[in-house]
Amino acid sequence: MLQVDKVSKRYDHQWLARDLSLTVGAGEIMALLGPSGCGKSTLLKLIAGLEPVEAGTIRFAGQDLARVPPEARHFALMFQDFALFPHLNVLDNVCFGLVERRTPKATARGQARAVLATVGLAGYDDRAVGALSGGEAQRVALARALVTAPRLLLLDEPFSSLDAHLRLSLQTEFRQRIRALGISALLVTHDRQEAFTMADRVALLYQGGIQQCDTPSALLAAPADPWVASFIGFDNVCDDWALPETALWLDAAGRSAHIETLTPLAEGIRLRLSQDGQCYTLHLSAREAAAWRTQLAPGADVGLVIDEAARIRFA
């Protein structure tokens, strides 16, 4: 459906996208994962047509979008701050796109109410948007985007302004909703949990290019390079290999390793160990930590097993 082909964009001599290519299939949810300030949001604006592309083409369903203004693309972009219109109430915000698409007022209101009901905001019609909580504003923004039945849904860090608890429940809910409608979606985030929870495929963006693009499980099984491996959460990454968390564990029978530091965490402890001049980071759950407690102290030696078969070597 969406094909981004060798697109380039600069801001003040910094490449936000450089020969960047990406495809999103029909009904697919794709996550664009990258560190803050790497140009993820700009890429969304390029796709939405809000910023001009310097080079390359963006196509949707085979049509070149270069000369299509944003309002004619039938994409919906959901902003990080939701961008609800302060002068309109909840219902009129949701109706906005329908009115622009020449839907008769009564029909538009009916559709808007129906969508509001599906996101759990029935009866919120006359509320002022300034009086909504974060989660409610989020749902209004989603309803406003979905009610126009966009061909592609673009989501810019949609959960970053919500607290952790709400975020988790909304992520699952959003995924189900978008899934149920069969809309293609492109989600931008810097949070790998969010990307892995929501998306069918995850594209890792770094220094203006896609480093790797695959399903979450494939990414975890075979990160392509050290940067990808450490960004998606590998603790033990070197220039030419990475160790999954399951590939190393403490065992009295293992070869001796020296405990460099020991950091208590909310859900266990983190150990920095050295063995044969190589440093390793190891997370222990609270249960494991309790089992090993007597032997764990900075400066002490413990047995460490490394499963060589699980070691991932970069090409």
């Binding site: 047509g49 944003p70 701050d81 219109f85 302060p86 002068h87 906005f96």
Partner: protein
């Protein structure tokens, strides 16, 4: 929104034709006339020195009285506080003639106070304060009110007494607001015409009045040009400083603002009483004096039946309506063109910075054929009125997050639909307020009208001035009655401006 830059052509054309060309003409004429002989003339030296001195003195007095008032209004909560803040807007919309008449009604030859202040510098200073004290109070009050509560509490916990907190935290925090208000005050006072013409008398009139006298009565254009040039030089310097400061004010302060508290203890109550008393005395007393004197001016009310008055009223209404249309057109064009452009934003200050007298004089020099044409007069009115629309609108438009129009675009709205459905509704309160200010400006316009008008285009302001110049108590009284009428008209603009403020505050509070 790069596509809207072409709209700038409209206001730029106006500014070029009515400011740049006349002023450059003035400068060339003035520069050739500007010789050492001119500056060594003690009469002109005194005029320039007094103009500077009275502007600086007004700044000093406004600071002295205004800071405690502003601080009190920012920190204390008391019944009527909101109303007091609203009433502070009143002098802004009052025509200079009304202010001058108010001062005379208090301290004039038959003044209510019995203190005869004519031919002293105090009348002019009092008139200046009437206008400019509210400006400082409002601005500084906003500055004080925006300082985050955490900052004040941090200072207290680090060992500062409330007095030291004021000096070391609050005053520096509010400084940009105070400085920008001082710049405006200086500009207004330095180029004051109407007030100085009526209150200054022979000795304490300003350069502006001198220029008018030289042009209108002595036909000494070369000295007038030289004087105008020196006024422009000083004013533009200060105006650039103001525009620069104003840009910095857009930065939002983070953090919860301090809660206002109910004054407790005799000290705080005394401070509050002093502040409110000063404010009423300086900013509201002249208006009350006009109303009071007009009430007892029995036979003078018959002047309202005079066809001359009706003609003047009709002219005032006509000019105001035309100027309002022009102000809307040019103001909107300027605001949409100037979005996030510092240069264009600054240009909107240009009509504030140039004195109406200089502009009118320059227009006479450049377009002698148009000297009594309606086009030129309405053009000049529009020039003076449109920055109110442009500035208010462009501040609001700049504050609209870029995401809102972008969201509207992706929801299917074209550029013009975005303007119509998102930007204009959001900026509607600012537009209404800007228009009310523009109307008040046109209503009270005096200087330009005096220069460019024909006798049959008498407006309410010029009529008042004319009556004031005629001998006899009845003429004096009818000038007073007409001032009262003008004051009531300005009140309408005031109500239009303040009526909607409540809603705005709610939006801002979120």
């Amino acid at each position: 929104m790069r596509s809207t830059r072409w709209l700038a052509l409209l206001p730029l054309a106006l500014l070029t034709a009515l400011v740049a060309v006349p002023l450059s003409r003035l400068s060339t004429d003035g520069a050739s006339a500007l010789s050492l002989a001119f500056l060594s003339d003690p009469y002109y030296r005194w005029r320039l020195a007094w103009s500077l001195a009275q502007a600086l003195a007004t700044c000093g007095l406004a600071l002295l009285f205004g800071l405690p008032i502003a601080w009190t209004l920012a920190r204390f909560d008391f019944p009527g506080r909101r109303w007091l803040l609203r009433l502070l807007m009143l002098p802004f919309v009052m025509p200079t003639l009304v202010a001058a008449m108010g001062v005379l009604a208090l301290f004039g030859p038959q003044g209510l106070t019995g203190i005869h202040g004519q031919d002293t510098p105090w009348l002019l200073l009092y008139g200046n304060l009437f206008y400019n004290l509210p400006l400082l109070v409002r601005s500084a009050q906003e500055g004080f009110a925006r300082i985050p509560a955490n900052r004040l509490m941090a200072a207290r916990s680090l060992g500062a007494t409330p007095w030291r907190v004021f000096w070391r935290v609050e005053l520096p925090g509010a400084m940009p607001w105070i400085c920008s208000a001082l710049c405006l005050i200086f500009l207004y006072c330095f180029s004051a015409f109407g007030l100085a013409l009526i209150l200054g008398g022979q000795r304490y009139a300003t350069v502006e009045v001198e220029i008018y006298t030289l042009v209108a009565y002595e036909l000494n254009l070369s000295d007038a040009s030289a004087l105008a040039l020196s006024v422009l030089a000083v004013a533009s310097l200060v105006a650039f400083g103001y525009a620069w400061l104003e840009r910095g004010l857009a930065r939002p302060m983070r953090g919860q603002v301090a809660q206002r508290c109910v004054p407790s203890g005799w000290r705080q109550c005394a401070l509050l009483a002093l502040a409110v008393g000063l404010l009423v005395l300086l900013a509201l007393a002249p208006l009350a004096a006009i109303a009071w004197r007009a009430l007892w001016a029995g036979p003078a009310w018959r002047a309202l039946a005079d066809p001359e008055v009706w003609a003047a009223l009709a002219n005032t209404a006509r000019f105001t309506a035309l100027a309002l249309g022009g102000a809307c057109l040019f103001g909107l064009a300027h605001a949409f063109a100037a979005r996030r452009s510092v240069l264009l934003g600054t240009l909107a200050f240009l009509p504030y910075a140039v004195s109406p007298v200089c502009v009118a004089f320059g227009l006479l020099l450049v377009y002698p054929r148009l000297s009594a044409s309606l086009t030129l007069l309405i053009g000049a009115y529009t020039l003076l009125a449109y920055p109110f629309v442009a500035r208010g609108m462009s501040a609001t438009l700049d504050a609209v997050p870029a995401h809102l129009p972008q969201a509207a675009r992706t929801l299917g709205a074209s550029t013009w639909r975005v303007v119509w459905r998102v930007l204009l509704p959001i900026a509607a309160p600012a537009l209404r307020r800007g228009m009310a200010f523009a109307a008040a400006t046109a209503l009270g316009e005096f200087a330009v009208t005096l220069f460019l008008s024909r006798p049959e285009w008498m407006t309410l302001t010029t009529l008042i001035y004319q009556r004031l110049g005629r001998p006899g108590a009845l003429n004096q009284d009818s000038a007073l009655v007409l001032s009262c009428l003008l004051m009531l008209l300005a009140m309408v603009a005031f109500v239009l401006i303040e009526w909607q403020r409540e809603g705005d505050d709610d939006v801002a509070g979120r």
